[in-house]
Structure formats: C-alpha cells, structure tokens
Symmetry: C2
Subunit: 597 residues, 2 copies
C-alpha cells in the first residue's frame, strides 16, 4: 500500500510515529506562518500542517500549489493538537508534514464535496463519481453493503442456498413491460430481462433446493414515476415444505436481525394485520403504524339525524387528532382543501372539536346536539382538546381518502419520525382484483381490446387461494382470499410474497380465471405446469425491495442515494450518456431495424 | 415446517423418537412382507419401512400406489437398523411408518434421478429442474454458494465494499460484441449489457471507495464455443493507492482462503512467473504447473550438425517425458500425428530415447552421434528410461505446439490430477498485441475496413504500461510490458487484472495507439477521461471467472453443472424455450422492427 494508515485511523496513542497517508485535499487554511490541510479518504479526515520556518520551504511552496480534491501522498510525524476537535475521531492529533507528493491534480469540482453541497440533482448525476465522494452518499452505500452482508449471514445460518438465476430469460406479457434483448444467433428472437426470478425460484423448489435466496437485479420497463428505477434489486427467497406461518416467522427474523445488526435496534416481534383490517382501520394495505390515529366508523351515531350527506353515504368514518382542537379555521380549511384534491377525491370534511371546557364544536352543529356529538367523541375515546375529522361516501374511496388525510396530518404533527421503525405483516390479501377494460391490458394478454375488464392477480398468477375460499372462485371472485402477505415498514411495502400453487390443475384453473387461453398459458408457462407434474413440493416465498429497504434504514426519502449509479426519470444515465444510438452494423447483425413513428 | 427433521439428520441417538419427514420417493423395495422406501431431500436420504401384519394395511396399500419422485410427508418411529449402512450418514437407523400423506404425485421422470443418470445432455437441459435433483449437480451449486460466501467473508474482512454497478449501460465497440436493449422511452436508442463493470469500478476508485468488489453477472454476445455462456459471473475487484504487489498479495490471500475454507487445503504461497518465462518454458501464458516437463532449448547442441530442418529453424526445443523411453513406435507415431494436426501446426517431431542401458536412440541418429545426443540428454537432466521429444521451427509457433504436446502427454500420463491444485501468477504481460487486418475488427472501431492490421490492447485499453517501457511505445510497441497479471490454476486462466492508467494524458495516448479517433474516444470514454481530471488516485484490480473457478474447485471439466440454468451452444434455454419471438405491439412500442436477411 502507498500508505501506512488511513485518514480515519490515527489517535493520541500514535503521537511521534512517522506515518504515510494518501487521500484527497478537502480544504486548506493558509494563515501565512501556518498552513493546515484537511486530508480525506473513505475512512475519515486527518489534519496536516506545515509551519513557516520549521517545515522545508519547498514543501510549503508545493502545498500552496494544491487545490481542492488534489490526490496526495504525505509522510509526517503525528503530533498532539493544541486545540482538539472532539467531533472528529482523529481530532486529538495532527500530522506535521515531512514530505509531500502530488499523485494527481484536480480541476475545481463543479460542486462542493460537502454533506450540504451546492450542486443540483442534474449536475450531481452527471458527475456522479464526484457526488459519491460526499460522506452522506458514501455512507448510504456502506449501509447497503452492510445490509446485504447481514442478510446473507442470516439466511446462510438457516441453510438457505444462494443460487444465481439467469438474466436472459423469456418475455411474458403478464405483469409490467419487459426489457428485451435481440438474439443475434437466433434472428427475429428475443430474450427478456427478468422482472423477478419468480418461475426459476419455484423450479428450484421443484428441484428440492428447499431453501433458496438471491440478492438479485430485476428489471421493469415502466414509465418512471419519481423514485422508480428501471433496474432494481430484490432480496428474493423461497422455501419448500412450509406453511405461511413458517415464512412469516423466518422473515420477521430477517428484519429483526437487520435492525439489530445494522441499526443496533432490538425490534419486538412484528404484528400481523389482515388486509381487511388494514383497509378498515387505516384505509391502506400498507398502514404506517408508527402512530395510532385509527379509523372509527360512525354510521350508527351519525346517520339518521337528517344530515343528508351522511344519510346518503355508504360509510361515515373519522380519525382523531390528539390535542388538535385548537386548530384554526385556516388550518381546518387547508385540510378540507387537501381532501378535496382530485387525487384524494373526497367531497368535503366534517370536523368536531372537543373543546377544553368539555363542550363540542362541529361544522354540523345544526344536525347534532351536544349529546349526539359526545357519542362521536366516545367512539374515539377522545379527550378534551382533541380534534375529530370525518369523511363520508362510498366505502372504498372514503377509506382511501381518510388514509391520505391521516398521513398528511401525521406529517404535519411530526408523527412520522424517520428514526422510529414500525414493521407490520399484512396478511390475507384478496387473490384477485377487477381491472376495468381500460386498465386490463387486454392486448398484451392476446385478448380482444375493448372487451370487458378482467380479473387480475393481485399478487401474481402463482399465488395460491385459501382452500376454504375456493368455493367462491366462480360465484364471488373478489372475495377469495390468497395465501399472500406483505411486510410493511413505516407505511411502505418493503416485501411481499405468497404460498404458491404447486399442482398443475389449480395453476391451470388460475390461468383460465385470469383470461389466459389454454394455448397462451402453455406457451408462456408450459414448463412450469409441466414441472408441477413431476413431484412439486408445497412451497412459498417472499421478495424484499432492497433499494427501498436500504433507504428506509438510512432514514432517507429517496432510494437514489442508496444506488451507486442511478438513472433519471427518463431512464437515462447522464454520466455515461446512455441509452444511445448503436451502429448500422450492430443493428444488421441483430436482424433489427430502428423504426420511429 | 411440515417436517420435524430433514432426511439427512436422524442418527442412532434418535431411536424411538416420533418424527415427521418430507421429501421425494427415491426408490421402493417391495419384498411382500416388508416394504422399504428411500426418502430423499436436499439434506440426505432416510430409509422408511412398513411391515405386513404390523403396519396398518391402508398405509401399505397407499405406499404401494406411489411411484418414483412422489412427494410425501410421513410420520413414524425411528428404529435401529438390523443391517447398518455405513455409506449413509443416516445408515444406522430406519423409520417405521405410522402415517403417510402424498403431498404430490409425479409422472415417471424422463431420466433417472441418480448420480449416473441415463439422461442425455439435451434431455437433462430441457428438464433441468429434474436434473438439479441429482446429488452431483446440487452439490456443484452448493459448492458455488460456499465459494461466494467465503469470497465475501474474506473481502469484507479487508474492508472491501460490495457495490452494485448498473446492468443497463452503454454499448462500446472495443472488446467482444455487446448484447443491447432497446429503450422504449428513448426511441432509436439502446442500452448495452456490461461485458464487465470495468469503467464503473474505476469510477468508484475516483470516488474514493478505496476497495470495491462485486460478484456480478456479465454478458458477451459471442459465438459460443463449448463451455462458454452468454451470461457469466465474475468476482470483480478494484483497489486504490496500491502497487501491483499489493494486488497480488491480496488476491493470493483470497485464493488461499478459498482453498482452506472450501476444500480444507493449505495452499502454499502462489509463485510468480513472467509472461516471457511462461512462453519460454511452457509455450503458454497459462501453464499447467501441476507437473514439470519444462521446455529445454537445444539450438546450441542441435544446430550446425547438418540436419537441415534444425539448421533452418529459429528454435529447436523439447520436453522430457520421465520414464517413457519404452514408448512404442505406434505411440510415438500417435504423438507425431498429434503435433501435425492443423490446429497444432508442427511439421514433425524428433524423439530421443534414453535407453535403460545408457545408450541413446533417436529418429535423427544419422546426424548426431551418441556423444552429441548425450549432450541433449544432459540439458534435460534426463535419466536412463526417459523420452525426449523435440520440435523446431518459428519460435512462437513451435513453443505453442510444444505446449500442446506437453499437455497431451501429461493427460496420457495422468499428470493432470483434478484433486491437485497449482495456482500461479503470470506477470508482465505485453501491453499490446498486433492483430492482422482480418482479425482487427476495424469496422467495429469505426476504421476503414481492409486497412492494415492494428495494435490491440492485450488486456484492455485501461491497462497501464510499465513506466520504464514507455520509451518503446513508438519504436517497438510489441515490446512494451504492461502492469498486468493473470492468475492461472491448473493450466486455466481463472483471473486477470492490471494496474490502471489514472491520468487523462496517458489514457488519451493509449486510445490513439489503439486506433481510436479523438472523437470516438471521447464519445465512448469521455466520462472516464474527464473523471481522471478530478483527482483520480492510482488504482488497479482484478476479475475472476467465477463459473470456471467453481468448476475447477469441483474437479469438473465443464462449467455447466455449476450454473443452475445454463444455456446451450446456440444460446438457448430449452427448458423455458428462450429466446423467442415477441409481439408486434412490443416491437412497435420499442420502435424497432425485425429484419431478417
């Protein structure tokens, strides 16, 4: 190594040692008689100094030619600092230079290499290699590294085998759009990049691998919403000879291991909640349970009192904001505006103030007297000083809107602390959801466009229905529950999985319910259905979104700083400038042509 | 779990326990009064039995309906075996069934699930999920898992950070052909799949990551020779602030750690050999050093004696096969035929037998007397009973041919023992090699076709020349040595790397030597050259071919059984039937058209 120590390593015990360091010039302070240099590497920052009259003149001269981000190698003697800096691990010492070599110069970077940089997103992405020098970004990737290592350690300890599944696979229209890869050796044919290794991990179970995992890149050619990436990473797992309860226990164990080993947090066991309860009490299949504010239904106390909005509503439901009775008219109006936004979709909002003096003040005072309003308050166990907010209307829509209001309010109230973590299992998801014609993707499925909507697998077509609900599959498909589960953390889905179908007959039935013709099902998934005929064991699994999991552990909103080289919302990497055109020769070899409308 | 134990777990200490097992029916033996079943899972095989008169009749009846590969769940009592089987870890016990549940049936598999199967390659690939049930294949993948884990443990312990680099990158014509991916969101533009994360890992060094690794999928669209795969896995590493010696030490450490932790072998330190010596003594840049048989040059003793073939030859060089003087005429003729094959290319072969009685017998007796022949023998330190084989001609060709003969002979003599391991560093590779016009790939480089050949980077264009050889770059480019090294194991290159160029001027010079126009170099690698201007540290790295490394550790010739789902030589996965056609809608969305000549 060109160095004897790293820039994060020297302590008071090293005083008087001769050492050699390498790194980047973070900053220099030139006081004339004294010249300080902060030298940075991945491991930390060490202060160097030169003293007019005591240090060699040529050294001082050379040091004065250096700019920010020069790469240098220095030798010097470790000295105790006069004024120590207890914010830096190396803050007790500094190094008196005896030699200095410039290993490489640097132009002035286009933005400052500091935690709070002056560089905008676009500039930082174009010069991502400089952005990655910033401590916050580097620490994000170090956290990711640690998460990956600890995930592997945990799963290894439980006899999971890491198996690499192929990246060049087969395009299937179910699900999101595939990225495809033309095959030069097979003209006119294409590989697809995997959206997940789903079928391969199921085949590994048929093979008897028993416990599989992989931290694996997956690909989806979707229009990129904020914070989506065309390539993303999953912790992908599958187990055989298990029940749903085994999977939940195993992966609750994983998440608790990660909290302990990476964050030092002793996480209690992860609660379970049914999908129906999640919708009923939080209006979401991924409730943020860092705070309570559960929904309370008011149909029995709010209907039949002459307030026609409630009387006509399928559901009257509210939340209680503790201590918010003092909200001003303006604040309440802002909340009403919020719920009336088109993407929230409520028609209006009713409030009930539980005043400090024990009286009630509501926007619907003329329909409800004090006693009636007190019954509302009782339902919430509301105290004097609390504020109750009520929405009404069609059940699903109203729940969804109230769920959004709950989160909005919690953000305002600071209830969504990034350093607090509330994982949750949501279980018993519906097997199917109905997509109206416009969203059903009929064409991709090889079905006539414009026909009626269709039932779509909520999780994916390999998820098993609950045996006790099988009878409903024809009569009331929406009521059939699946052996499917999500892990939710702080209101974000971080993982999801299911117990799979493992016999051909059920799988074939499922494909037909989803609108696959027998030919299409065979063409796309024939190998899997055939595999089910050669001794497929009961099995199930889960996949975690690793990028998101890392960002949540890092307390960040965006996944981008937990990915070394992310793409922007147009799917571009502006640093290397891709995607880009390729040559005519390449196209010819691949038997394809560009054809832009 | 559906089971209390695995099929590899029960021992004599478990006798009389009631246990539940799950697994596959490996075989049944029905003796009428007694019925034995071998139950298999990933962990082993356990013998089950049923006894007419003692076991429930319905159980026996059900068991008799089962075929091979049925998936079952059984409960029973562990009993001591009368005749123990010390070849099985569970061979001391058997399980007396008390209940039996068929979890899934199985059709008769198309080949036997045994180590020595009756299935041919094609059939096994089509039913890979059944092939993977075979113990040998599963153990290959378990070995791979262990290799990956131990690689990570070792590199982690040295502060390497695992960073995922992108899969959707940019096509560059240097090197092999890229797989490309049309971008729907950027019509007419394409991503490429990485042939290696080379530029990204160098950028991570510019970013100060200091030590990077990744076990990563890479892609090459080459015509597949036997045992090549379009997607393959590398252990990819890079370090900053190092010398070549640091890299060699670090990764010698890795290979020794793998031998120790995976194979239980204490590997002594890995010897170094220059490229020149490898060519001179073994005729190969990847010598198999499990055995000696080094080349001995005979120009001084063989030339000038009137044998015109040697007199006209640039090089006369031979090997000594210990104890082979008794080779028959037929055996010698076979060796002569071997070296005369077009792919070997020698014109003929001379032999010298060191007879047991101390005399010499050669095919060129009439040109050399006993004393002259004894001088040959002395050069080889040959003993009575040894056989010397000599080739001659143009230096490089002759060395290559003799290198092939050496391996051929060693195979015959059983000197290439798969359980013996001889790693080796080959260092000081040439920087450049000259490719004649036909092989130079001028068109891909945007150069006029049919122009003269060109100098090509032997390793890759980012490899640094040895500073002391820089003066030869114009006068004698072929003589310039690179800071490049390969790790060779048993005659196979398992890894290679180099100290990189880290300044723009040298990198630009190198691109121009390789025939890039300044515009082309900028278009393809502008981001890297720009990065070199912002404080790039000295750095270097290495990549190991992980599939091959695993197959060598597994003592296998082919990499295929160390890859879960390999592709055949036409790049097809016959199990999932890919590549395949995609729909017109998909093509339209991607702004491409199929155009087959």
């Amino acid at each position: 190594m060109l160095r004897t120590h790293t820039c994060g390593e020297l302590r008071i015990g090293d005083v008087n040692k001769e050492i050699t360091l390498t790194g980047w010039v973070q900053r220099q302070r030139d006081k004339g008689s004294l010249l300080w240099i902060d030298l940075r590497d991945r491991y930390g920052v060490t202060q160097l100094f030169l003293e007019e009259g005591k240090s060699e003149a040529s050294l001082i001269q050379l040091a004065r030619t250096m700019g920010r981000e020069y790469v240098i190698k220095i030798t010097g003697i470790v000295a105790e600092r006069l004024s120590k800096n207890d914010k830096m691990p190396t803050g007790d010492i500094e190094v008196k230079l005896t030699s200095l070599e410039i290993l490489n110069t640097s132009k002035t970077p286009p933005f400052t290499i500091e935690d709070q940089t002056d560089g905008g997103e676009d500039l930082r992405m174009k010069y991502r290699y400089l952005d990655l020098r910033r401590t916050t970004v580097r620490e994000g990737l170090q956290l990711r590294h640690k998460m990956a290592q600890q995930t592997r350690l945990y799963l290894d300890s439980l006899d999971f085998i890491e198996v690499e599944t192929p990246v060049l696979i087969k395009s299937t229209p179910e699900g999101a759009r595939d990225f495809v890869v033309p095959s030069r050796m097979n003209p006119g044919e294409f590989y697809a990049l995997p959206q997940s290794p789903q079928t391969f991990k199921q085949l590994l179970m048929v093979s008897g691998f028993d416990r599989y995992y992989q931290i694996v890149k997956c690909f989806r050619d979707e229009d990129l919403r904020a914070d989506r990436q065309p390539e993303f990473t999953q912790i992908d797992c599958e187990m055989a000879f298990i029940t749903q309860e085994d999977i939940l226990k195993t992966f609750e164990g994983l998440i608790r291991h990660l909290f302990k080993s990476v964050k030092g947090i002793d996480m209690p066991s992860v609660p379970h909640m049914t999908y129906d309860d999640a919708m009923k009490y939080y209006g979401s299949d991924k409730p943020d349970t860092r705070f309570e504010m559960k929904f309370v239904e008011l149909n029995d106390v709010a209907k039949g009192k002459g307030f026609v909005v409630f009387d006509d509503a399928e559901l009257v439901v509210g939340i209680c904001a503790k201590g918010c009775a003092s909200y001003t008219r303006k604040q309440l109006d802002e909340l009403t505006e919020f719920v009336k936004k088109p993407q929230i979709g409520a028609k209006g909002m009713i409030y009930l103030r539980c005043e400090a003096n024990g009286t009630y003040k509501s926007s619907v005072d003329k329909f409800y007297d004090e006693i009636e309003l007190s019954r509302w308050a009782q339902k919430f166990n509301a105290d004097a000083g609390d504020l109750i907010l009520v929405l009404s209307g069609e059940k699903e829509k109203t729940r969804k809107a109230l769920g959004e209001l709950r989160l909005h309010l919690a953000n305002q109230l600071g209830l969504r602390d990034k350093n607090k973590f509330a994982p949750l299992w949501v279980v018993d998801f519906p097997l199917l959801e109905y997509l109206p014609a416009g969203q059903a993707g009929n064409e991709e499925m090889g079905l006539p466009a414009g026909q009626a909507g269709r039932w779509h697998a909520m999780h994916h077509p390999f998820t098993s229905p609950k045996p006790e609900d099988m009878g409903l599959l024809d009569s009331d498909p929406g009521k059939v529950r699946a052996n499917a589960y999500d892990m939710v953390l702080n209101g974000t889905e971080i993982g999801g999985g299911s117990i799979r179908i493992h016999d051909r007959a059920t799988q074939q039935l499922m494909f037909s319910k989803l609108g696959f013709s027998p030919e299409e099902a065979k063409k796309q998934f024939g190998f899997l259905m055939e595999a089910f005929e050669y001794g497929a064991p009961p099995h199930g699994g889960i996949a975690f979104g690793f990028d998101r999991l890392c960002s949540l552990f890092g307390g960040a909103d965006s996944i981008r700083d937990f990915i070394a080289f992310p793409k922007n919302n147009a799917g571009r990497d502006t640093m290397i400038d891709t995607p880009s055109t390729i040559s005519q020769e390449q196209l010819k070899e691949l038997s394809i042509d560009v054809k832009i409308k």
